[in-house]
């Protein structure tokens, strides 16, 4: 997607992200932070965003990620514990990772990115449509005109390839 194409869809995506931020934080300032960070994330992803498709679903996922990011940053800087909401053990781990844990996660992420880059273009496209856009097999089949059983098979092949490559790397 070119810069101009991105700028055309940015306002709609921004509105969606503002809405997510507002729902979560309940105030305009934080919602604006979410939308600004979110647009930046999407801008960096623009090359893999196909121009003839809607990306509001991706914008919503990115906005939710930015909400969690903001919570993590605040937790780190302000050193205050989150109110107990839901399963605290589960998400406090995610929201209060130490720098060491973050480094390990970053190395693993790089390894995953490398493994994805080794997939053939069709497998990579479908892998990313599941991982980044959060689309179901049905939705992918509709958007790509690939038959649903083929989508499932290709997604499975891609995932297994990435998984096996990562396991090999981790054994080294």
């Amino acid at each position: 997607m070119t810069q101009q194409e991105f700028e055309q869809i940015a306002p709609e995506m921004r509105d969606e992200m503002l809405r997510i931020g507002r729902d979560f934080f309940g105030n305009e300032m934080d919602a604006d932070d979410v939308a600004q960070e979110g647009l930046l994330v999407l801008w960096k992803m623009r090359e893999r965003m196909e121009p003839d498709r809607r990306h509001t679903g991706l914008a919503i996922r990115v906005a939710k990620h930015c909400c969690m990011d903001l919570v993590r940053k605040r937790k780190r800087h302000e050193n205050e514990s989150l109110p107990s909401e839901g399963d605290t053990l589960r998400y406090e781990k995610n929201l209060s990772a130490t720098p060491q844990e973050e480094l390990e996660a970053s190395e693993l992420k790089n390894a995953v990115d490398m493994a994805i880059s080794h997939l053939n273009p069709s497998e990579r496209r479908l892998f990313e449509m599941r991982q980044l856009d959060g689309l179901s097999n049905d939705e992918i089949a509709q958007q790509t005109n690939i038959p649903k059983p083929s989508v499932k098979s290709m997604v499975s092949t891609a995932r297994k390839k990435v998984f096996e490559e990562l396991k090999r790397r981790m054994r080294q």
Binding site: D15, L18, D23, F24, E28, D32, R61, V62, K64, H65, C67, M68, D69, E85, G86, D87, L89, R90, Y91, K93, N94, L95, A105, L108, K109, A111, V112, R130, Q131, L132, G134, L135, S136, N137, V151, K152, S153, M154, V155, S156, R159, K160, V162, F163, L166, K167, M170
Partner: protein, 149 residues
């Protein structure tokens, strides 16, 4: 979810059989602090967007029971406020309508209209304090320095 249930979900994930909803559930499971190595790989493959989406949904869901009671109280408060407003309007509209000038006070926050006069006037006062209060914070410079070529 038990260990075995998570393992089964991982198998289905690798087989391309899971729904986005199941993948979000899986993301939470494999992100546990005590997760084995294979689970960490799956967590990374699922990606930050899936994991954070699951966390977001979980946090929003956990707020809901509190919100319901709060929403009801807010609703009742607004019903009474609306009733009071109707009475006030019935008394004041004839007076207001006869006034010659109507103040125009409005704000647009990223396209969203705000007409509450107190809020808009506070925004105005805050903006004025900001732009007019620069003298003490900023060192004066020559005109050429800032706008010259």
């Amino acid at each position: 979810m038990t260990y075995n249930e998570t393992e089964q979900l991982i198998e289905r994930y690798l087989a391309g059989e899971t729904t986005p909803e199941e993948e979000r559930q899986l993301a939470l499971e494999v992100s546990r602090p005590d997760a084995p190595e294979d689970w960490k790989i799956i967590a990374e493959m699922l990606g930050t967007l899936t994991t954070d989406e699951a966390l977001y949904d979980q946090m929003m869901e956990s707020r809901r029971p509190v919100m319901k009671a709060k929403t009801r109280r807010v609703y009742l408060k607004w019903v009474w406020t609306a009733a009071a407003c109707l009475v006030a309007i019935a008394i004041t509209v004839p007076l207001v309508w006869s006034r010659q000038s109507t103040p125009d006070v409005v704000a647009y926050v990223y396209g969203q209209k705000v007409t509450d006069e107190d809020v808009v006037m506070e925004m105005m006062a805050s903006t004025m304090a900001d732009v007019l209060g620069n003298g003490s914070d900023v060192v004066a410079q020559d005109l050429e320095d800032i706008f010259g070529n």
